[in-house]
């Protein structure tokens, strides 16, 4: 047994890497926007708003990502809704991560001290202004560590979309491996690609956390 990985496969795998990054970035973006809205709905919404938000979160956290993906890609066509593979993949991952992110955002919103909202309202800010200018700027800083984990998980979980014929890192690797009967080397290289991505993203998130840090605010603030 020797290492049979051929360097000419690398460009193909790199194109897969681009797809993985694109898909993950898009899902995370969807997840942030939707996740914040879901969290706000749960925390500040009356029942007609908070209940659907809870159910959404419950469903997407309580069922396997793969099942969600298959419902969207293979299931929806039975109802006449035929989405392209790429859209299905992004939708499944985006909705899934939105549910998880919503819970992190909710935790962060609720950990902003209660007096902050009181102070904002007593200045005459509306509820929306208070959320936008006082609560969220603090909650988003508090959430970064938990949120970083979610981003990294997504980066890795995104590999399941090869099952709906998308050529991300995993999709490309699977194709090359099958054609050349070289599973071990190709998948190890694929793993290294993911590892490199995860390390880079972790580093960037650490920098972000450092950059937006404010004295006295954050997970480290309590122990002084």
């Amino acid at each position: 047994m020797s290492f049979l990985f051929k360097w000419e496969w690398l460009p193909k795998m790199a194109s897969g890497l681009v797809v993985t990054v694109e898909v993950t970035a898009t899902c995370i973006a969807i997840g942030i926007v939707l996740g914040v809205l879901l969290a706000l709905g749960r925390v500040y919404g009356r029942r007609p708003i908070s209940l659907p938000c809870s159910l959404f979160i419950q469903f997407f956290r309580g069922t396997p990502l793969l099942v969600q993906l298959f419902i969207i890609y293979y299931g929806l066509p039975n109802w006449g809704i035929r989405l392209p593979a790429f859209v299905s993949g992004i939708l499944a991952l985006g909705l899934n991560t939105a549910a998880y992110q919503a819970e992190y955002f909710r935790g962060a919103i609720q950990s902003v001290k209660k007096g902050q909202m009181l102070a904002a309202r007593s200045l005459g800010m509306s509820l929306t202004q208070s959320i936008r200018f006082v609560i969220l700027p603090q909650a988003l800083r508090l959430v970064i560590p938990a949120w970083s984990n979610e981003l990294i998980l997504m980066l890795k979980s995104s590999s399941i979309i090869y099952l709906v014929t998308i050529y991300d890192i995993m999709g490309v690797s699977q194709k090359i491996a099958a054609r050349h009967f070289n599973y071990f080397d190709v998948y190890v290289v694929a793993a290294l690609f993911y590892l490199a991505l995860v390390l880079i993203v972790s580093l960037l998130l650490r920098l972000l956390e450092h950059r937006v840090q404010i004295p006295g605010l954050g997970v480290h603030a309590d122990r002084r």
């Binding site: 001290k113 007096g115 102070a119 007593s122 005459g124 200018f133 006295g216 605010l217």
Partner: protein, 252 residues
Amino acid sequence: MNMPLLKVEDIHKRYGNEEVLRGVSFEVNRGETKVFIGPSGTGKSTLLRCVNQLTPPDKGQVFLEGTEVTHHKSDINRLRASIGFVFQDFNLFAHLTAMQNVSIGPTKVTRMHKEQAQARALAELERVGLGDKANAYPAQLSGGQQQRVSIARALAMDPKLILFDEPTSALDPELIGEVLEVMIELAREGMTMLCVTHEMGFARSVANEIIFMEHGVIVEQGPPQQMFTNPKHQRTGEFLRKISELYGETER
């Protein structure tokens, strides 16, 4: 006609089975300082919050210059903008510098231009003696400094009156003086103030009236001199003696 600046009428508030406020009425004229005292759990904080509707009362009315604050159609955000509130634990916005804490009200609520709001914020910070701390975050300030910033934050809104809820109770003893000095100065300049505080030195030097509350009602109210020397109710005298012992009564 000389209408009171603030008129509070028959305020009731219940939490569960407990009737926290049982019909409280009083008036405040422009430029007056009123001091609320009373045992803990008596409803003083609840009363202040009813004034600016942070806590809506179950019954009763609040009028600010004749406008009913408690009316369901009143523009409550606008009314709150003209009622300052200073909290026991400061509640400065943790993600903003002292300057931003003071300027956020004018910029977001009254839509003042940014430069103008910053100039105003700096002026208010200087007024409370913290011009040099404009760029510090709350966590970098002492309790006394934070409370002074929160007073500056209230002042920057040009409030018609300011409500103080035990503004010095969370402070180390050596930091109380700097906050009281600012409050005394404000009172002397003619700011209308409602203060829940047990600092009787402050009450003696600037209060027009001390209001003693117990179990959700006003037991007795009167000028400090009378309340100290000649209270009508035995409870008032007892309570005043007790807090004078507890808090001391340093002359300021």
